[in-house]
Amino acid sequence: MRAETLKGHLDGLLLASLETGPRHGYAIMEALRSGSGGQFDLPTGTVYPALRRLERAGLIEGTWSQEGGRQRRVYELTPAGRRTLTAERGTWREFSAAVTALLEPAPRPVTP
């Protein structure tokens, strides 16, 4: 799936990938890839700059730490990030329910 299709949902997906705990950039890319059954194979040039943007907005916090014998930049949700994720999730539920209602064929009315 192309990155443009995801536009508008990328931030929510990135935040969601950090909900269970801190992760580094490549692990986030892997989580999006495997979590979507291979659908969201997002390029480096999309994921890493987006992480920097979310960090600047104070939604996640990145710190260099020694992990697995190497320096890695690990990202963690901030309290504001957690709140934003909850809000995004609510918006998405409403949106997807509305789209589903409109796109899916309605069950035929039962004629007596």
């Binding site: 892997e30 040039g45 890493y48 943007r53 907005a57 939604l59 190497r70 890695r72 930049r73």
Partner: protein, 230 residues
């Protein structure tokens, strides 16, 4: 695995297309290096040879110029924010140094516009309002830049282009304020050099000359990085 020539070659291609503050750039390159090693490890554990794994990882990361381009908006924001913070810190300091220099040089405060104060430099009627106007521009655009590049972007999305322009405006405004202050000093030197207290005046002059050069350079860098945004 550190120092893998293929990985380092790729990273230096990325770095070559990335403008902006050095520390921000090297932090990004370090993060990409660590990501590439993760990608290589993932492929090696899937059974690839070291060389094949490295090649596959580099292919996965994509065209170095495109990766660099994707970071430019972020780097523009960092450049703008740095400029704004530097001005916010140096501004009050320079104001204080000039205030001390003016008091030490026996310019007396009166309930009147500053250019009518006894002992005020002859150029005051023109230069004092110029300093005031420049300060107003600097303060507004510095605050706008700080707002546009930080946590407020959560509610107030600002484009990196705008942030680069407001930061450049603040930088050029600060340079203009310094220039006007130095013109005031020059006019006082021609009229009553004896009234000036050498030490505080020299300190304020040195600070303003330095800030003028740095603010101008920072403003130009902001415009340069803005020009790389497509």
């Amino acid at each position: 695995m550190t120092g893998d020539p293929a990985v380092e070659g790729y990273l230096s291609d990325v770095a070559a297309s990335m403008p902006g503050p050095r520390r921000a750039r090297s932090d990004i390159v370090a993060e990409l290096r660590s990501g590439l090693f993760d990608a290589i490890e993932a492929r090696r554990s899937a059974g690839l040879t070291a060389q094949a794994a490295t090649e596959a990882a580099i292919t996965e990361f994509g065209d170095p110029r495109q990766v660099a381009r994707a970071f430019r908006p972020h780097l523009a924001m960092i450049q703008a924010r740095r400029t704004a913070f530097a001005l916010a810190v140096t501004g009050p300091l320079i104001g204080l140094l000039w205030a001390v220099a003016a008091f030490a040089s026996h310019i007396t405060l009166r309930h009147a516009p500053p250019w009518q104060w006894p002992g005020a430099p002859p150029l005051s009627p023109a230069a004092v309002p110029a300093v005031g106007a420049a300060l107003l521009i600097v303060i507004t655009s510095t605050l706008a830049t700080i707002a546009a590049t930080g946590k407020l972007t959560r509610w107030l999305p600002a484009s990196p282009r705008t942030a680069a322009v407001t930061a450049a405006t603040a930088g050029f405004g600060a340079a203009a304020a310094d220039l006007a202050l130095l013109a005031l000093l020059a006019s006082q030197l021609t009229r009553a050099p004896g009234s000036l207290d050498p030490l505080p005046v020299a300190a304020a002059t040195a600070a303003s000359v330095t800030r003028l050069a740095l603010a101008r350079r920072a403003a130009r860098r902001c415009l340069a990085i803005r020009a790389t945004l497509t």
